[in-house]
């Protein structure tokens, strides 16, 4: 009897699970599968004079994507995103670790501080940075007030400003997942490592780092992927001087009215993300297998 019930149970559960999943599946189909399919189809089409998509097959959009101009832009975008990710890890890891190991009462308050910026619109926060970095802005005023400070320094509309903007926008997305991993680490493991004679560096490399891999992987994904595609910060804080791939794609859909080429860039981009995701998944699983 019991065995029979047990055998039937998974069947019933899966039927109910599907019902519960329906909204999610519908959402995915409507907003992920359908648009991605349209994007994919468009990427092989041509445009007419008005920028309408004409359904005649061509490889031209893809040959253009692999033109050195756009490859260089892809490479530069990856560079900016990678730098942003590295700075976010270096700056975010200690913060996440500190919060994760803090007393419970403090933890919530500190986490709240990480999330406070989200209460204000992203664009307003970016404009706030413009006020800080501009030539007659806050930062230069502070520099001027210093006794031996330099003259006005160009911060705004430089690559530095872009990286500052990106790091600022995405740092919380690095801190929170790492915090999630740090919080789960059993303190006894660290004590054991110390007791067995491991120095701080050894504890970090042999215990903490492997155990926080899942958080690092998730954080890297959450920071790296959106910062490649970001176009608002490069326009507003970078002065739109150096195009990144997000700007080029945005341009194809609005100014240049070349949707098929924009779609082709999008598809290549998607492939790039899929590769990143796959690489990170392997990185994470290796960590879990060892941990």
């Amino acid at each position: 009897m019991r065995q029979a019930a047990a055998r039937r149970a998974p069947h019933a559960a899966s039927w109910r699970a599907w019902l519960l999943l329906m909204p999610m599946v519908a959402w995915l189909v409507l907003f992920v599968v359908v648009p991605t399919t349209i994007l994919f189809v468009y990427s092989f089409c041509e445009r007419d004079e008005l920028g309408r998509v004409v359904f005649s097959f061509t490889w031209e959009n893809y040959t253009r994507v692999f033109d050195p101009i756009y490859l260089r832009i892809f490479a530069r975008s990856i560079g900016y995103a990678a730098l942003t990710t590295i700075i976010c890890i270096v700056a975010g890891f200690p913060v996440a670790f500190g919060i994760g190991r803090a007393r419970a009462a403090w933890r919530d308050r500190l986490l709240l501080l990480v999330m406070v910026p989200f209460w204000t619109s992203f664009l307003i926060r970016t404009y706030a940075w413009i006020t800080i970095l501009k030539e007659e802005g806050l930062l230069n005023a502070v520099l001027r007030a210093l006794p031996f400070g330099p003259g006005p320094v160009d911060f705004l509309y430089t690559p530095t400003a872009v990286v500052i903007g990106l790091v600022y926008a995405y740092l919380p997305f690095m801190i929170l997942p790492i915090y999630g991993s740090v919080e789960k680490i059993d303190g006894a493991l660290l004590e054991a490592a110390h007791d067995l004679g491991a120095g701080p560096w050894r504890v970090f490399t042999a215990v903490i780092f492997p155990l926080t891999r899942p958080g690092l992987a998730a954080g890297t994904l959450l920071v790296f992927v959106p910062s490649i595609a970001m176009f608002a910060i490069t326009d507003l804080m970078g002065g739109a001087r150096v195009p990144l791939i997000g700007n080029v794609i945005q341009n194809q859909f609005l100014q240049a009215r070349d949707w098929p080429f924009g779609a082709a860039l999008g598809v290549v981009f998607l492939a790039l993300f899929a590769t990143t995701y796959w690489a990170l998944l392997r990185f994470r699983d290796r960590g879990e297998a060892r941990g």
Binding site: V34, I38, Y42, E49, L50, G51, R52, V53, V54, F55, I69, R72, I73, R76, I130, K134, E135, E136, G137, D154, L156, Y157, D235, G239, A240, R241, V242, P243, V248, N251, F253, L254, Q255, A256, R257, D258
Partner: protein, 338 residues
């Protein structure tokens, strides 16, 4: 409408039932139609105005092509209206319903984009010229060559618009701006290449910001932006480049599938009233093509050199078809080479 039916369907989901008799769906530029003007029309006629905005001609065309006849009145620039007329996206105007057309200055009507005036009515006009912060720049600036000098490296803001930048280079070379060939583009290329290295900010939305903030000292920007700068501080001078400048005429037009063309005609005629038109150009200090409205403007508004430049060679854009893509590619290429 042969383009994606799927997309049209998806858009239709968000569109709703369409206009009823007492509604007007207006699709216009952002920061271009004062709310008081719209409210005044509703108060007078009882017609509710649904106002949606776009920020580039390309966006307008894309939405008109994809969304069909949900708009009753649109506000393209001259060269965009030209393509739209050719592609039969606009409905002919019933000029008998627009008695206030008589108020318009004839310099702005029957221009090449709509020679017979059968489809469009001028709304506001403007140009692209040079703004100089005279506190920082003391040498005379007359044309593009004076602006794009190595001594002004990283002190410049220009429009983030590929066709504009290439047009300035063509003017410098004395080449025609509306008949583009691969050869003329090839000649413009090294000039644009030098210029983009000097620019600090590319901004079409609010180029005045970088000038006001003191981040740059010179700009090649919309005349309306320059007029606002001059109103705020007289140190900002405006010059129409000696080599020639782009003039744009933004027009009102009724899309071919409009549901309420009667209300659209009524609204156009209302906007052409001198006292209404005067409100518009006071809020947005571009050049008012309405002669009767101009007579009502304050002497100070008329003295604004950016709104009403005294002299200068002005030319409107014509549609350049697929060369637009070549221009975009050229500028993207040169910008990423720096």
């Amino acid at each position: 409408m042969k383009s994606s039916h799927l997309l049209v369907l998806l858009l239709a989901l968000g569109v709703g039932a369409g206009a009823r008799a007492a509604e007007l769906n207006l699709f216009g530029w952002s920061e271009y139609v004062p709310q008081t003007v719209i409210d005044g029309f509703t108060k007078e006629t009882g017609i509710k105005v649904n106002f949606e905005t776009f920020s580039s001609n390309e966006e307008l065309i894309a939405k008109l092509v994809a969304g069909g006849g949900r708009y009753d009145l649109v506000q393209p620039s001259d060269y965009a209206a030209e393509v739209m007329i050719r592609q039969k996206l606009l409905a002919p105007l019933d000029r008998a319903k627009l008695p206030n057309l008589k108020n318009l200055d004839s310099a702005f009507t029957n221009r090449p984009h709509d020679p017979a005036g059968g489809f469009t009515v001028p709304y506001l006009s403007g140009s692209v010229g040079i703004v100089i912060n005279t506190e920082k720049v003391t040498v005379p600036i007359r044309g593009y060559r004076d602006v794009f000098q190595p001594r002004f490296k990283d002190r410049l803001v220009v429009l983030n618009d590929s066709r504009e930048i290439v047009t300035w280079a063509l003017y410098t070379l004395g080449l025609p701006i509306n008949t583009l060939t691969p050869e003329s583009l090839a000649r413009a290329r090294p000039i644009v290449a030098d210029w983009v290295k000097l620019v600090k900010v590319f901004d079409s939305d609010s180029p005045k910001t970088a000038l006001l903030n003191g981040d740059v000292d010179l700009g090649v920007v919309w005349s309306g932006e320059a007029a606002i700068l001059w109103n705020q501080n007289k140190k900002f001078h405006f010059v129409i480049p000696a080599e020639g400048a782009h003039q744009f005429i933004d027009v009102l037009a009724i899309p071919a599938g409009a549901k309420n063309p009667a209300a659209a005609h009524q609204f156009i005629n209302y906007l052409l009233r001198p006292e209404v038109s005067q409100l518009i150009s006071t809020a947005f200090p571009y050049t008012n093509p309405n002669a009767a409205a101009r007579a009502l403007l304050s002497p100070e508004a008329l003295a604004n050199p950016a709104s009403y430049p005294k002299t200068g060679k002005l030319e409107t854009f014509r549609d350049i078809g697929k060369m637009a893509a070549a221009i975009d590619r050229l500028v993207t290429d040169l910008k990423s080479a720096r």
